[in-house]
Amino acid sequence: MIRSLLLAASLVALAPAALAQTVAITGGKIVTNTAQGVIEDGTLVMRDGKIVSVGTGAPPAGATVIEAEGKWITPGLFAAFSRVGLAELNSEDPTNDTSAPGSDFQASLRAADSFNPDDTAIDVTRIEGFTRAAIVGSPANGLFGGYGALVDLSGGFQSIFARDVVMIAELGEAGAGAAGGSRSAAWHWLLTAIDDAKAYPRGFEDDGEGDLISRKEAIALKPVVEGRVPLMVEVHNASDILQLLTLRQREPRMKLVILGATEGWRVANQIAAAGVPVIVNPLTNLPDRFEILSATLENAGRLEKAGVTVAIADPNEATHNTRFILQLAGNAVANGMSWDAAFKAISSVPATLYGRTDLGVLRQGAIADVVIWNGDPLELMSSPDAVYIAGVSTPMESRQTKLRDRYLDLSEPLPQAYERQ
């Protein structure tokens, strides 16, 4: 049974005709993430990689109809923060491109240049309902970690669909360590780097370097200080967040995103007033560091209530278990966040965070990233039946499902090495 389903899924993905077809998914509960809200017994029509219509009408004549009665239809999930495709085995340096502690370049590094579409974590993540991800490196030699990119999770060579969408940096305890030992050193570093980049090319003309950073680094930071690319700063402590927010006055052109915000609930009104979105891990509730003593499971819900734009991800589970984001969102709901906000936090909010309004939503003209689920997608025991990326049905198999199928029956006469699906 499983084999035949998997085989069918693979064939669909390989069929070039799929793109030209009109596909209608009918009878399911459609979560649009738009003003249309949730449509019961809805019909979604897609063609040529785009969504044609979302509503309750009958499927158009000639369309390939997929009956989805009792199913949930949602936009593909969008990992707001991930390192999928950057590390095959975290502990093996040759396969791990998440950071470059030995490089003199940091801000000028680009995660897209490290992306490996053959990374086995891509299939593993996609079959859980994720169609897109922001991939972001890790600061390792200073405050900046370089540019993040956007990828689809098809595993193809053309997966990268947007480069240089965000610059990652860190403050707080980690930033203090990276900057030489104190928060004041980190803050001074950040402001000096910003000033260098703003001054570029002035100030780089004689000896080729600014006060702090090199010419290449200044060039890389220029779009950030001019507000063309957001600066994502990992920061957790309430006071550290407030200090970061002062940058809104000093550098009004710059766009900020807070990664972490574990104590964000204590300064939620200030974050909301500053209009800065956050990416939180709603399950952080241990005082594991002195900068997060007030961590609580209710952080995400409290931020939502204060009017903060909330995305959900876990930077510490960003390579192999990016799929954990689903469980994070469900738990956010269990602890006070609305279902609607929690689901948007893993789909439409990440898309808009990176300037994409054509992803994470089911509306006419949007890219047809669509997932058919066998139940509430935030529930632990639900899973996708089908995952479409830009209208193309993708294989519901991974290296893990192949290992599973190989070992499900241990009584077969030949060694497992002879068994492949």
């Binding site: 049974m1 499983i2 095959e88 085995l89 975290n90 502990s91 093996e92 086995t120 974590a121 309430a238 104590e263 204590r266 399950l283 509730n285 241990l286 005082p287 594991d288 560091r289 002195f290 003593l293 007030s294 961590a295 609580t296 499971l297 209710e298 390579t319 192999h320 278990n321 799929r323 954990f324 469980q327 469900g330 738990n331 709901v333 269990a334 602890n335 935030l378 529930e379 632990l380 025991m381 639900s382 899973s383 893990q400 499902t401 290992l403 599973r404 070992y407 499900l408 241990l410 497992q416």
Partner: protein, 507 residues
């Protein structure tokens, strides 16, 4: 000729070391016998107490209570709809239909309509207390990396009872756990089983009557920590998986010889003691002579000998299937049993072998890929270990966050198993969370299921415990309410959190 005065046997086996050497001076004040010679006190057998750091745990105060109208998972695999659980004197006294119970007049009741009742979750793999929050350098007490064989260290000697993680685990319905040393070493030291209750001391948490355990570790960790000396290759043995096994064998061989010496000593002492009780038959009988000398004590080998004597349960960290198979042969070579393989990311490849050897697999639902030996992790590992005839699957955490949601980890594994055609009911899946860990820890006679006369270690869940939206409403340990989501007075705040931002907040 000497005469020995018998000392009651009970004194020989009690308490800490009774180390009366054979050359104890004569007790000249003692009464004389028919042989009219001075009587010496009977030298005691050298016995080292098995429990020198005894539990001081006492159940918290509790009321008798009837939990009624619940969906009950009894932990044995049964589900009772509209069921009741009767708790009296800290014990479970009845489970099933309320109508069939004899209820004392005026017993307190809790209406659990729409809610679920289960045995408390037992995490067989935790480092709470030895790697507490905050995870500062001063708190890194879980790995005694001074050598690859440190069977002489005991996790309980490093447990910080004020770790906030204990209370977070409580909120997740965890009523007991095994605290293990880390996996740096081939032999990491003794683990300890605790009740998840707030206490001032580790002794105040120790699970009374639970056996000791021994942590061992396979694979990459010992190689990396020793052979590669934290990045400074070459370090010291083991450098390879060959070295790992050789290191185990060398230690087990020393333990075998140590045990032989103690067995001989005890046999010799028995014989000597017997002679002291046998009256001389001939005038020239020289009597029993001096008692035998006890072997020198070795704290490391004491623990290993405890395993060989079947008193200490082996908990072996091992990822790869082939390595688990080697360890099974190792255990047979030296005559002990592995209680559970921990992490066992490839356990599904040898589920039949584990079931045959009656070894449990203590596993994650979906962790994988963080190192080479975790590369082949699959989401169906737990149900595939369960499905082998006689298979024993356990959901474990090894993590201060994961321990808070072991029911959710079980739910994921259950769903993935069903998708692969492994049909397991929700109630049977609960055995992964309480009965099976209790079995692998040797405490199944005391807890792990809802059965009459067992400890009332019980959780009331707000709904289906396999739903992401469900929370633990109330947690009972030995019948006492240790956690109540609706009552801030029953949500413990540890010392570390006092006077800090967020004190007493919902966590």
């Amino acid at each position: 000729m000497q005469v020995w005065k018998l000392i009651p046997l009970v004194a020989l086996v009690s308490g800490a070391c009774t180390t009366a050497p054979a050359d104890t001076p004569a007790d000249t004040a003692a009464a004389t016998s028919h042989l009219s010679e001075p009587v010496k006190p009977m030298p005691s057998r050298v016995v080292y107490g098995a429990d020198p750091y005894p539990s001081t745990y006492r159940p918290l105060p509790s009321d008798d209570v009837l939990i009624r109208n619940a969906t009950v998972f009894d932990g044995l695999g049964g589900e009772i709809k509209g069921g009741a659980v009767l708790i009296q004197g800290g014990k479970i006294t009845a489970v099933g239909s309320e109508a069939a119970m004899t209820l004392p007049a005026g017993i307190r009741t809790i209406d659990a309509t729409g809610r679920f009742v289960t045995p408390g979750i037992i995490d067989i793999h935790s480092h709470l207390g030895v790697y507490p929050s905050p995870g500062i350098s001063a708190h890194q007490d879980g790995n005694e990396v001074s050598g690859p064989v440190t069977a002489e260290v005991w996790a309980e000697h490093a447990i910080w009872p004020h770790d906030p993680g204990f209370t977070r685990a409580m909120a997740g319905g965890v009523t007991a756990m095994q605290i293990l040393p880390g996996s740096a070493n081939l032999f990491g030291g003794r683990g300890v089983i605790i009740k998840n209750v707030p206490a001032r001391t580790a002794q105040g948490m120790k699970f009374p009557g639970a056996p000791y355990t021994l942590k061992m570790a396979c694979g990459e960790n010992p190689k990396r920590v020793y052979g590669y000396g934290g990045g400074r290759f070459p370090g010291s043995a083991p450098f390879s998986r060959m070295g790992n096994i050789a290191g185990y064998r060398e230690a087990w061989q020393r333990a075998t010889e140590y045990k032989r010496k103690w067995d001989k000593y005890n046999a010799d002492f028995d014989a000597w003691e017997k002679k002291t009780k046998t009256p001389a038959e001939k005038a020239d009988d020289k009597g029993p002579g001096d008692p035998p000398n006890a072997p020198d004590r070795n704290l490391e080998l004491d623990t290993l000998m405890g395993v060989l004597n079947g008193e200490i349960l082996v908990q072996h960290h091992c990822y790869r299937a082939d390595e688990m198979a080697q360890v099974i042969d190792l255990s047979k070579e030296f005559g002990y049993k592995v209680s559970a393989f921990h992490h066992g990311v490839e356990a599904y490849k040898i589920a039949d072998m584990l079931a045959k050897e009656e070894i449990c697999g203590a596993l994650w639902a979906d962790w994988w890929g963080f190192k080479a030996e975790a590369y082949d992790g699959i989401r169906e590992n737990i149900p595939m270990v369960h499905k082998a005839a006689g298979g024993c699957a356990i959901v474990h955490s090894d993590d201060a966050n994961g321990i808070q949601r072991l029911n959710q980890e079980a739910a994921k594994a259950l769903a993935d198993g069903r998708k692969a055609g492994i049909d397991v009911s929700n109630a049977v899946a609960w055995t992964w969370l309480s009965r099976n860990p209790a079995k692998a820890l040797g405490i199944l006679d005391k807890t792990g299921t809802l059965e009459s006369s067992k400890a009332a270690d019980v959780v009331i869940w707000s709904g289906d415990p396999f739903s992401v939206y469900t929370r633990a409403d109330m947690v009972f340990v030995d019948g006492a309410i240790t956690w109540d989501r609706s009552d801030p007075a029953r949500r413990p705040v540890v010392d570390f959190e006092l006077g800090q931002p967020g004190e007493g907040d919902v966590k």
